[in-house]
């Protein structure tokens, strides 16, 4: 167990290392090299001084270790478009909004996705299953931003029930109801494709478990279907679904860029898109590395949880 965790931790470190290395190569291969991290409007003299300070005159491997050290100490440099503000500071400032939205979408995925998958599996091949399967198929094919636009048309423009943008209305900051109304559409749009994925996963995991011998034994003992489903199948069928967390997480985080922009949600996704639109390279690199690290850590956490939930899994 301890060895497994150590190995898992090590591989997370390697992944993180890969991310940082890839970003370094991106900067090196960029037209102009590291100068993309500098403000374009400075004089040649200033540029030369900055280049020396940034270590541009050093050999590439020294530059690489500098980059590694800077990133590991949380020094992502300064934003170009936002008046030289510290990238780390901006990222930390935007983090809560993204966490709030992402966790809501994740919650929605689990609460909606797993039961729906079970319903589909229990009704295998009849009309209910077919309708649910069709909708999960549809959910995977719908562009999330378009779904968002359509929801805005319906619920904000036509019905005027829900606000079309923002995290809360100004002046109404503590009202739970107000926050919830702002949250509904972004969370639904962000969660749609993960819900669809998890429905399919749960369904097939359930159907696989149903065919196992111990279920046949339970059935031949004459136990009721209800009892078999919820006492015998559910507990085993649910376990592989947890791996979906690892699949849904990058999906939700990646989707946040589009959804936050569409709904003017003040989170990291919108920050990344704004940075990309303004060619603010240090900022977008900082956000990307930070988000990747966060996702890698969450995955590590879930993997640690896995053997706790399923004692059959023993890592040597």
């Amino acid at each position: 167990m301890f060895n497994y965790l150590l190995r898992r931790l090590l591989s997370s470190v390697i992944v993180l290392f890969i991310v940082v290395t890839i970003t370094f190569f991106m900067i090196q291969l960029a037209p102009g090299g590291l100068s993309i991290l500098m403000r374009p409007d400075i004089t040649a003299e200033e540029a030369a001084r900055l280049a020396r300070n940034l270590g541009l005159d050093r050999p590439p491997h020294v530059q690489y270790f500098n980059w590694l050290r800077n990133v590991l100490t949380g020094d992502f440099g300064q934003s170009l478009a936002y008046g030289g503000r510290s990238v780390l500071e901006m990222v930390v400032e935007r983090l809560p909004a993204t966490l709030y939205l992402g966790l809501s979408a994740m919650l929605l995925t689990l609460v909606l996705g797993i039961p729906t998958g079970i319903i589909a599996a229990r009704n295998q091949n009849n009309a209910i299953d077919q309708v649910l399967s069709f909708f999960s198929f549809l959910g995977l094919a719908t562009p999330n931003f378009w779904l968002g636009i359509m929801l805005i048309v319906l619920f904000s423009v036509e019905l005027n029930w829900l606000p079309a943008s923002g995290i809360r209305s100004s002046g109404d900051e503590l009202s739970f109801w107000n926050r919830l109304k702002h949250l509904v559409m972004p969370a639904v749009v962000l969660g749609t494709s993960s819900v669809a994925t998890i429905v399919r996963y749960t369904r097939s995991s359930w159907l696989e478990t149903m065919r196992l011998d111990y279920v046949l034994v339970a059935r031949s003992k004459g136990l009721s279907r209800r009892h078999i489903d919820y006492k015998h199948i559910l507990r085993n069928a649910i376990i592989p679904v947890i791996t979906v967390f690892g699949i849904a997480l990058p999906r939700i985080v990646g989707g946040a860029a589009v959804v936050e922009t569409l709904f003017s949600w003040p989170g990291l996704g919108k920050l990344a898109v704004d940075a990309a639109l303004r060619r603010d390279t240090p900022l977008i690199l900082g956000v990307t590395i930070f988000i990747s690290a966060a996702v890698i850590l969450s995955n590590l956490l879930v993997d640690t949880l896995y053997p706790v939930l399923d004692p059959r899994i023993r890592y040597e």
């Binding site: 094919a141 719908t142 359509m150 990058p250 940075a275």
Partner: protein
């Protein structure tokens, strides 16, 4: 190929071994109506975007402020947009770009994936370890943000989009190819070829890679849909195909602001994306049943 065709057994169609692949394709399409419509849709769209230059349509890019938000008419079958441009012409020209990026991106994805997968599976050892750690790594991070980085640095020409989409999508397919190679690399026909003096390159690309072709065809079809979705999202954000060139994604960028005057502007491009992705996904499902019966019912 012979190894696989011998193993094909379709539960639902007794005697399928005597049927040709076309007969089985027709049978599968008859069973999966969505995929049948999908195939028709794909053919129709492809033909339309290819013959667009000869169609009697308005200009997709000429701005005419006198013709803003015109309702559908004979001259403009789907009306005009906020700049007085013909919506149908824009849909068709935009479709050509969206489809081209989707297909090129998917093909490049599969090319990268095949190369990595074959090398990784064939050589094993350290090479395999390195590639597979890279695959694990890239699969566990939100690659959409890397796309944003790439676009911020290199701009968003169609070529950059295609390459960067492929570079962020090849991992799952590479894993698939690798497992196929592992399955076959110790079989007699490979040993025999090696005995006859075939080089490693020949073994990899002539003997082993063809075993993965059925899975690769399926992967290509599904990836066309996924790449189109991502391209549309980037274009919507203003980071993909840039105006004045229309694409289904960037046609939606401003549509939400004109929702009062022209709700249809937000509907058509979205539906085109949705139908295309549905079509390629369901076609992928049918191809899987047709070419690779081992995969049936697994993979959600």
């Amino acid at each position: 190929m012979s190894v696989q065709t011998r193993n094909i057994r379709l539960k639902e169609s007794p005697g399928s071994r005597s049927k040709t692949i076309w007969k089985r394709a027709r049978w599968l399409l008859g069973k999966n109506k969505l995929a049948a419509f999908g195939l028709i849709y794909i053919v129709l769209i492809t033909v339309t975007v290819l013959i667009e230059p000869w169609l009697p349509l308005g200009s997709p890019t000429r701005i005419s402020l006198l013709d803003q938000f015109l309702p559908p008419s004979l001259e403009h079958p789907l009306g005009t947009d906020e700049n007085g441009r013909d919506v149908l012409a824009r849909l068709i020209v935009g479709g050509r770009i969206s489809l081209a990026v989707g297909v090129a991106g998917a093909v490049l994805t599969v090319l990268i994936a095949s190369t990595v997968g074959v090398i990784s599976g064939f050589f094993g050892g350290l090479v395999d370890q390195l590639f597979m750690r890279l695959v694990d790594g890239l699969m566990s991070i939100p690659t959409f943000f890397f796309l944003l980085v790439i676009v911020a640095i290199w701009g968003s020409s169609p070529a950059v989009l295609i390459v960067s989409l492929a570079l962020t999508r090849w991992m799952a397919v590479a894993r698939l190819v690798r497992s196929e190679v592992l399955r076959f690399k110790n079989q007699e026909f490979v040993t025999a070829a090696r005995g006859l003096g075939a080089s490693n390159i020949r073994l990899m690309f002539h003997h082993l890679l063809p075993q993965a072709v059925p899975s690769l065809i399926v992967a290509t079809s599904i990836n066309v849909g996924v790449v189109m979705l991502i391209e549309a999202a980037l274009s919507f954000l203003g980071l993909g195909i840039l105006p004045p060139t229309p694409s289904w994604g960037n046609m939606l960028t401003d549509s939400q602001y004109y929702i009062w005057y022209a709700p249809h502007l937000a509907v058509y491009p979205g539906l085109m994306i949705l139908f295309s992705v549905l079509a390629f996904n369901s076609l992928g499902d049918v191809l899987r049943d047709l070419l690779d019966p081992r995969m049936q019912g697994n993979e959600p």
